[in-house]
């Protein structure tokens, strides 16, 4: 009888595991296909922007959706990445890769600094502090550091770049370059989530107190998460510089941070594809509505409020929950039909 019980238990466990959404091959190929044809459906510049914000969001989501820390000043990492890359390209005639690397590294250093100061704080408090830090960076770039950042004008005269002798000045090649990097970052994110650290993050997402009780150093986890998210932010900022050929001051503005938050929530925090979907939907909405009325902020803001009230899990989150509950129902039926009762 005992043998049969262990067997039964293993069977139930396997069924339970099956209910967890896994990266299905169809989703992977579907995403790949969409990414490939996107510039033919919508404009290439818009598509490129969606990917750039998507990369930004992947990192931001690790922090918000998985670790549960809300940063309202993430524009600081985006902006710093953008400016470092821009300065390197303009003044040192750096190559693309140096520019991107510089963007990543500078943002991560900034994250270490801010993390050291503030990561221990409670959620809402950290949100406020991160916002204020973001603002500080913005005002520093606007005025006191004007000589370097060119203040309000933004950084111009960034040279046109080439990859393998294909000029990145044309929209399609630029899009595919960014797409390749996006795919790499998607893969990297997946690997991170599969790793022990990633599992820890998911434990965090479920219940931070319990993770702490299990002996994990929550502060260290949050700190690492912040720095990791800054990696993505800095990369996205640097890519933005390459895409625009220019670094506007608005990359550091609080609205950039706010937009990132909205995109992530919209797409579904704590889901894998959420940030990418969120970026797409948000930018598409903003673009389309602004063709009809200059008052697009009213609609986007109202939609956001609506989402928070009714679908706080966002698009992917709601889909995932529906899928999970559907699977749970199926599992229950399966178990009941095989004779056992719950």
């Amino acid at each position: 009888m005992e043998g049969r019980e262990t067997e039964r238990k293993a069977e139930l466990e396997k069924m339970l595991q099956d209910t967890e959404p896994k990266p299905k091959t169809t989703i992977v190929w579907g995403t790949g296909l969409v990414l490939l044809v996107l510039p033919f459906i919508i404009s290439a510049p818009l598509a490129t922007e969606i990917l750039i914000w998507g990369i930004f969001g992947l990192g931001f989501n690790l922090l918000l959706g998985y670790t549960g820390v809300l940063s309202f000043g993430h524009a600081a990492y985006f902006g710093l990445g953008a400016y470092s890359c821009g300065l390197a390209l303009r003044y040192w005639q750096a190559s693309i890769w140096t520019g991107l690397l510089l963007g990543i590294v500078s943002s991560m250093i900034l994250a270490c600094f801010i993390g050291a100061l503030a990561i221990r704080k409670r959620g809402v408090y950290f949100a406020m502090i991160s916002l204020a830090f973001g603002q500080m960076l913005y005002f520093l770039a606007l005025s006191p550091l004007k000589q370097i950042t060119r203040g309000e004008d933004g950084l111009t005269h960034i040279p046109m770049l080439q990859i393998l002798s294909i000029s990145l000045n044309r929209p399609r090649p630029l899009y595919y370059f960014v797409m390749v990097i996006t795919v790499l970052m998607l893969y990297l994110t997946w690997r991170i989530l599969q790793s022990p650290f990633g599992k820890l993050l998911q434990a965090f997402r479920e219940n931070e107190e319990r993770a702490k009780a299990c002996g994990f150093n929550t502060t260290r986890v949050k700190f690492l998460s912040l720095v990791l998210s800054a990696l993505y932010g800095g990369l996205a900022g640097a890519l933005n510089t390459i895409y625009l050929g220019y670094v506007p001051l608005s990359t550091l503005f609080w609205l950039t941070s706010g937009t990132m938050v909205m995109m992530t929530i919209l797409g579904g925090k704590g889901t894998f594809l959420g940030p990418l979907i969120g970026a797409g939907v948000f930018l598409f909405l903003q673009n389309t509505i602004s063709l009809l009325t200059p008052r697009w902020e009213l609609f986007v803001g109202a939609i956001f409020v609506f989402i928070i009230l009714l679908f706080p899990a966002g698009i992917m989150g709601t889909l995932r929950d529906k899928y999970t509950s559907y699977r749970m129902v199926k599992l229950k039926k399966q178990i009941e039909s095989s004779g056992d009762s719950i």
């Binding site: 933004g154 506007p248 008052r295």
Partner: protein, 408 residues
């Protein structure tokens, strides 16, 4: 046989000529960008409206050289990144041959760079430094005065009429500083006495802390190098703190909506500069026609930014007519250089070396309680465009202003 061949040949030639004619009747795609959201949406909206009016007027008379104009406009949100994306969309997706607009000088510089890289003619509607130094290229043209010129115009009047001792309150960014440079230079030329300057950060709302210093310095007049909400707050608080009783206030650039927002505090002690004000209709028939048409169509007179867009759009089309082509962009820009016209003020022209519109600058005085509806100010002076221009060589080297040492 002979006659048949000749007729066939003639027929062929005729067909070819007709086909060429049909091929020539393509549409002109013109795309513009304006801040329709954000703090300056009032001005962006006027830019958009004036462009619409210009395009409709031209299409009503058959377009340019028989080609219809198709116009699209986009919101740039006064944001550099968005503006550049719009520019890319307009050129790459909408296939616009010509672009125009934007309100922010710094954005216009970025758009100008884009236009030069992609060889797309760009007519800028705003106060821009893009025609100076190394920033310019053949495809960019600017239709509002450059900041230095505004300062030169207003300062000349001030030193002639208001006194010699002056203090300044400057918004701390490139545009404000350019204005200040112009003032300092003119002050040196005309024997002015510069008592000092205070920088206020962009977006400042409380100016009381700056005014104590200014009151103590006791100048003949206070120069304000700011605009928008900053200027509104600065003037309101200047009146509150009694500054206006002790000194005149001179705003290098002001706007109708600012005067409205300040209310009766914008009185005879306050002067401001604009490139256009509808009351010019009392002097020029062209001004009256433009303002009346705009008023009839949109219910209110146009701000200077609208007028600037109207002229820019018109001049672009006029250049096409003069060049005799709507596709050869280099030829069109060449035709624009030196183009003479009279559209909304007196006779004007586009300077050849830098494709800058040479236009007059107005100085207005507030009316306080006597202001009613859109009768918000009286025009005190119209300073001719040529007197506020630097030479082509100086412009290319950003002289003489690049040598001015700004106070810390």
């Amino acid at each position: 046989m002979r006659i048949r061949s000749v007729l066939m040949a003639l027929g062929l030639i005729a067909t070819v000529v007709i086909l060429m004619g049909i091929a020539e009747a393509k549409e002109i795609k013109y795309g513009t960008m304006h801040p329709l959201t954000g703090a300056y949406s009032v001005l962006g909206r006027d830019q958009q409206r004036a462009t619409e009016m210009a395009v409709e007027e031209w299409n009503a008379k058959g377009g340019v050289l028989g080609n219809k104009i198709v116009w699209v406009s986009r919101d740039d949100q006064l944001n550099g990144a968005v503006a550049l994306r719009r520019a890319k969309e307009l050129v790459d997706e909408e296939k616009c041959d010509f672009i125009g607009g934007t309100l922010s000088g710094s954005i216009s510089i970025a758009i100008n760079e884009f236009a030069c890289k992609n060889k797309v003619p760009y007519v800028a509607y705003c106060m821009s430094d893009m025609v100076l130094g190394t920033d310019q290229c053949q495809y960019g043209s600017a239709f509002m005065v450059i900041p230095y010129s505004a300062a030169l115009a207003v300062s000349k009047y001030a030193f002639d009429n208001l006194g010699k001792k002056w203090y300044s309150l400057t918004a701390d960014y490139r545009w404000g500083q350019s204005l200040l440079e112009g003032w300092i230079w003119q002050s040196e030329q005309m024997g002015g006495k510069f008592l000092g300057n205070v920088y206020a950060p962009l977006g400042a709302t409380d100016f009381s802390t700056y005014y104590a210093k200014i009151l103590a310095a006791n100048p003949d007049f206070l120069v304000m190098n700011n605009l928008g909400a900053d200027q509104t707050a600065a003037i309101k608080q200047a009146a509150e703190l009694g500054l206006t009783k002790k000194m005149k206030i001179v705003c290098t650039k002001t706007a109708m909506h600012t005067i409205k927002e300040v209310g009766p505090a914008y009185d005879e002690n306050i002067m401001g500069g604009m490139t256009f004000y509808w009351k010019l209709g009392e002097k020029y028939a062209t001004s009256k026609k433009f303002s009346d048409n705009f008023m009839k169509k949109y219910g209110q007179p146009s701000e200077q930014d609208g007028e600037s867009g109207y002229v820019a759009t018109n001049v672009l089309f006029m250049a096409m007519e003069k060049a005799g082509t709507v596709t050869d962009k280099e030829k069109i820009m060449n035709a624009m250089e030196g183009l003479k016209y009279q559209l909304t003020k007196g006779p004007e022209y586009v300077r050849a070396c830098d494709r800058q519109r040479v236009q007059s600058y107005l100085l207005l005085k507030g009316k306080g309680n006597k202001a009613k509806d859109w009768d918000l100010a009286d025009i005190m002076a119209e300073i001719p465009g040529e007197s506020i221009l630097m030479s082509c060589e100086d412009n290319a080297k950003k002289l003489p202003f690049i040598n001015i040492k700004l106070p810390k």
